[in-house]
């Protein structure tokens, strides 16, 4: 049984509501009946060991692989197994863990593709706005994306998804490959700003401490199952945090008392 904090009731209305989702890659399901939600303005983090099924879960939510069971609702509408291009029109922005940019396109064209659903004249304006967030990209607009460094690539992937101002952001390890400093900036400034701007944010992060620090809610996934659903602060405060992240402890671990 997944454990949950008492204040689940205090969360905002769900913008994204995932209920009993199972997903996999053709064989047996890898994610089993996982449920999660994210409200507007809420930052929700999923943590868990490698191979837990976190990316698989996000892919099914983002319409990249089919849901084998369960329901996904976005802004009240049933979007289960809707194709990703239709989800994009409904405000879902997704940054995958790998293959997160168009390798053969220039940085500018990558951003233009991010704004594919915008009107032609809006693309320039949005590109300017997005480059205010990632000024480093300004110097490399004409560079082919395959020639970017790992960190520059991540910046581009984040910038690309921001082109459409999505109402739901699904980010699979947005800080992998980024330096410790830049990771902190991305999480503390950009991702939190997205939350503040009213978007619902669902992220998977390896840098669990940093991610939880900016999150409102957290899920721990292990073995394809959501083991813990808890307020991010409560999870951070647990003494057995390391165990919890590995999905080994699901008990209500004591919250350390100030001595």
């Amino acid at each position: 049984m997944p454990t949950s904090s008492a204040d689940e009731a205090g969360r905002p209305m769900p913008h994204l509501l995932v209920d009993g989702l199972s997903a996999g890659y053709g064989g047996a399901p890898i994610v089993h009946e996982a449920s999660a939600r994210a409200g507007l303005g809420e930052i929700v983090t999923i943590v868990g060991p490698n191979g837990a099924g976190k990316s698989t879960f996000l892919k099914a939510v983002a319409g990249m692989i089919p849901a084998l069971a369960g329901k996904v609702r976005l802004a009240g509408e049933d979007v289960t197994n809707m194709r990703a291009n239709h989800l994009a029109r409904r405000g879902l922005g997704y940054v995958p863990q790998v293959n997160d940019v168009f390798d053969t396109l220039t940085v500018a064209d990558n951003l233009a593709m991010g704004g594919y659903l915008l009107k032609r004249n809006e693309i320039g304006e949005r590109t300017e706005k997005v480059m205010e967030v990632f000024p480093a990209l300004k110097r490399m607009l004409n560079r082919t994306a395959s020639k970017l460094s790992g960190g520059e690539r991540k910046m581009l992937a984040m910038a690309r998804v921001l082109m459409l101002e999505p109402s739901l952001l699904v980010l699979d390890e947005p800080t992998s490959n980024l330096s410790a400093d830049l990771s902190r900036v991305v999480l503390e400034e950009h991702v939190s700003r997205l939350g503040e701007s009213g978007a619902a944010v669902l992220i998977v992060e390896q840098k669990a401490q940093a991610a939880l620090a900016i999150s409102d809610w957290a899920y721990v996934m292990a073995g394809g199952v959501i083991r813990i659903s808890s307020a991010a602060g409560d999870l951070l405060a647990r003494k057995d945090l390391a165990e919890v992240f590995l999905g080994r402890s699901t008990g209500d671990g004591e919250v350390p008392k100030a001595s």
Binding site: A84, A88, P96, N99, F102
Partner: protein, 295 residues
């Protein structure tokens, strides 16, 4: 030396035909990730479509347009009703190559059954010849070069200046990400088959216009130089295919005139093999990149 100048003239015409065919071929492969070895046979089928129109009294240039339309629709349907059915059931790159070889044989044999095993030719009104710097070119040959230039410029403008072109390049590299940007990739892939099929149809007719007669294997016999041109420039790269077409076209015609006409394809082969030896990663990086077959 005296044979060299006309050989360059022939080389430019061969290069023009090759460029149209190779750009279509490479465009098809880069967007759909299907290495369609039935491409030459779709060229032949389109040439027959033009033949039917032409012998029903339609002007050859209008017949060429009809062949382009035929090639476009035929290619799209070939993907929808044959190739995609395999991709949907999980057939990937190498399996798909076998499927396209099977389609190649089927198309050839259907053409053989419908038309007789003989040689066909178009009715083209005789036109004047023109002489440029020692090269003698017929009106048709000049038209072929003109068509090639128009086709190349159109492909260039489409892929760099339009949303559709950008969406095609994006779908070619990363179909999943393209979809999550809002691109209806199925539609883009249909367009890619239509476009490459139109180039294929045009290539089929201009090939026949240049060789004067054709049979059910004419297109298939031209597949080696097409693939050589596409691979030479780096498969999946339209500009590379143009460059490859010029290289192979000129080299094979010059070789034909200074060595022996029957060595044309040998030269194309030789260039292809040398390229594969020197830059195997050119073709392998595309094939092994592990991206899904997008159909």
């Amino acid at each position: 030396m005296s044979q060299l100048v006309p050989a360059i003239g022939f080389g430019l015409i061969t290069a023009s035909i090759l460029a149209i065919a190779a750009v279509g071929f490479t465009l098809q492969f880069s967007v759909t990730n299907i290495l369609n070895l039935a491409y030459g046979d779709v060229m032949t089928a389109s040439a027959f479509a033009a033949y039917i129109a032409n012998h029903a009294g339609v002007d050859i240039w209008l017949s060429l347009l009809m062949a382009a339309l035929f090639g476009a629709v035929f290619s799209m349907l070939l993907n929808r009703f044959v190739y995609f059915q395999f991709v949907r059931r999980g057939t990937r790159l190498f399996g798909m190559i076998i499927v396209t070889i099977a389609m190649s044989l089927i198309i050839q044999n259907v053409l053989l059954a419908v038309f007789r095993p003989t040689f066909f030719s178009y009715e083209v009104s005789a036109s004047a010849s023109y002489t440029f710097a020692g090269m003698i070119l017929t009106g048709s040959q000049l038209a072929i070069m003109g068509i090639a230039v128009v086709a190349m410029v159109s492909v260039h403008l489409l892929s760099t200046r339009t949303r559709l072109g950008k969406a095609m390049r994006a779908t070619a590299t990363n179909p999943g990400l393209a979809r999550s940007c809002g691109v209806a990739t199925d539609r883009v892939i249909d367009v890619a088959w239509l476009l490459s099929g139109a180039l294929c149809g045009i290539a089929g007719v201009v090939l026949v216009l240049n060789t004067a007669t054709f049979s059910e294997v004419t297109g298939a016999n031209f597949l080696v130089p097409i693939i050589a041109a596409a691979v030479l420039g780096g498969i999946g790269q339209p500009y590379g295919a143009m460059l490859g077409a010029v290289t192979i076209g000129l080299a094979s015609e010059v070789a034909a005139s200074v060595i022996n006409p029957s060595y044309k394809d040998v030269v194309a082969f030789a260039i292809l093999i040398v390229v594969l030896l020197v830059r195997p990663q050119g073709i392998l990086s595309e094939v092994a990149s592990g991206k899904e077959v997008a159909a």
